[in-house]
């Protein structure tokens, strides 16, 4: 497998419909680790960075896995390939745009990826469709336990697993869910959701992680506290308390929306689908807003003939690097808008 092959396949975790997938698009758990005996990334010399890369690459490729694992050298990959990996959530933008010896190990099915020499020596993540955090945790724990038989991670008797930034200290775990909350948005309750999240020490971000704006009612919710609580407590609190509550609020909001003003909501849904089916030029921001409405329409039975996997797949394929990989050349923003509109039309037009 090479990086270009990825652009042709849909991410399996976006294709499937896991539990509560009307609201929870996907679950992700990330673990941050650093090798004992090495400086953290900001103070690593390039040769020591290479040593970290080689050590972790060998350890990661020895993890027993159902799917083949591949290593990609990010330093040697083209800018477009690096952006493509970031668009598929397999690496972060800082990793794509960083410097020095660094890489990523990816499982062929894309459920697992491990960045080497990002902010920490190792940042690995497991994805699942819908709300399946406990499954993600089981998977990532298995990998972590295996790695600990091969390498030694920096650990402190008081502070736990040591990370370059103190905000990841302790368990090094980041649990997050990607949420679709059009109901809360349209009923004007997003601020309530932000405040509740803040009170629970949770971070809310846009679809593309840190620093990104929430576009088209898509949000990422993750834990901020990583110290003084066990990994199981963090995961269980998320999967058994926080996420079910949000799912319930969103479902109630959707129900209210359709009861209070059905024509207005249905108009929004069908008008969005009509624009997506007809547009000749479309920006990614507009596409995300309209796709959000269509997604709501599918889940509430207003649009019966489009599978949800098609919408999820479009989220990936209308992004700049995916478009350019498909075109086989660099495209100006205007040309990207043309190709994006064309891809959406083809995917959504009735046969």
């Amino acid at each position: 497998m090479n990086i270009r092959d990825l652009s042709k396949q849909p991410s399996p975790w976006l294709q499937e419909s896991g539990p509560a997938s009307d609201v929870v698009i996907s679950s992700r758990i990330r673990l941050a680790r650093n090798l004992a005996g090495y400086e953290f990334k900001p103070c690593l010399t390039p040769s020591r960075q290479q040593e970290v890369l080689d050590t972790l690459k060998t350890a990661l490729l020895s993890v027993p896995a159902d799917e083949p694992l591949f290593f990609f050298n990010i330093e040697e990959a083209s800018a477009l390939e690096r952006e493509l990996l970031a668009e598929r959530y397999l690496i972060s933008l800082p990793h794509a745009r960083g410097e020095g010896p660094r890489g990523v190990v990816i499982a062929q099915n894309e459920y697992f990826s491990a960045m080497i020499n990002e902010e920490d020596h190792l940042r690995m993540q497991v994805f699942a469709s819908g709300q399946q955090l406990e499954k993600c945790f089981e998977h990532i724990s298995r990998v972590d336990n295996h790695l600990e038989t091969k390498v030694q991670f920096a650990f402190h008797p008081r502070y736990g697993y040591l990370t370059a930034c103190p905000t990841n200290l302790g368990t090094g775990i980041r649990v997050s869910v990607m949420l679709h909350l059009p109901g809360l948005k349209m009923t004007g309750q997003t601020e309530k959701f932000f405040n509740a999240a803040r009170d629970c020490n949770l971070a809310v971000r846009g679809l593309f992680g840190e620093g990104s704006e929430a576009v088209g009612d898509f949000y990422q919710l993750s834990n901020q506290v990583t110290l003084g609580v066990t990994e199981q407590e963090i995961v269980q609190n998320f999967s058994r308390n926080i996420v079910p509550k949000i799912v319930e609020y969103e479902q109630v909001a959707r129900q209210r929306l359709f009861e209070d003003n059905p024509e207005a909501v249905e108009d929004k849904i069908h008008r969005s689908l009509a624009i997506l089916r007809s547009a000749r030029l479309i920006s990614s921001q507009e596409a995300l807003i309209l796709l959000s409405h269509v997604r709501l329409g599918i889940h509430t039975g207003r649009i019966p003939d489009i599978p949800i996997s098609k919408i999820n797949e479009l989220f990936l394929h209308i992004q700049p690097a995916h478009l350019q990989m498909q075109a086989g050349r660099t495209l100006s923003p205007d040309h990207r808008d043309i190709l994006r509109a064309q891809i959406i039309r083809t995917a959504l037009c009735p046969n």
């Binding site: 953290f40 402190h156 506290v225």
Partner: protein, 165 residues
Amino acid sequence: MLCQSCKTQTATIHLTEITNGHRVETHLCQACAQKQGLAIQTQIPLNELLSTLLSVPPEAAAGTPPSLQEQKACPSCGMTLQRFSKETLLGCPQDYDVFEKNLLPLILRTQNDRSEHCGKVPADAGRVQEKQMRLAQLRRKLEEAVRREQYETAARLRDEIRKLQ
């Protein structure tokens, strides 16, 4: 409902003020609320937090001028507090001990007042270390049980702690 200020975006922030018995409602979008300084920050930017916390010398270092504190460098990686407050990343595991007094307020602030790890311990960590972690975890559970008035659980945890000690 549209934002009262820009009249184009949907209002997502709704304020109710009651002055001298008069109720005034304001409906704004996120951008307009932010312009008027009304939006609630969901997260404190890390850089801001760091510079606030690191600019105040902790009690233990109160006798030392702040400039000397900032210049202190880690003997292992050369990291200084000044550099850390700019880059927000530490240089090596030893920094946690070297700058502990300065980092602790930051850790407590970002980690919901917690400063003791109680999660997974590496399989090869020394047995003493593992015991310490287990004790910290049990003590925390004991506190919780007492707070919830679950005395049977508390007694069991107390016995377990005694056995380990």
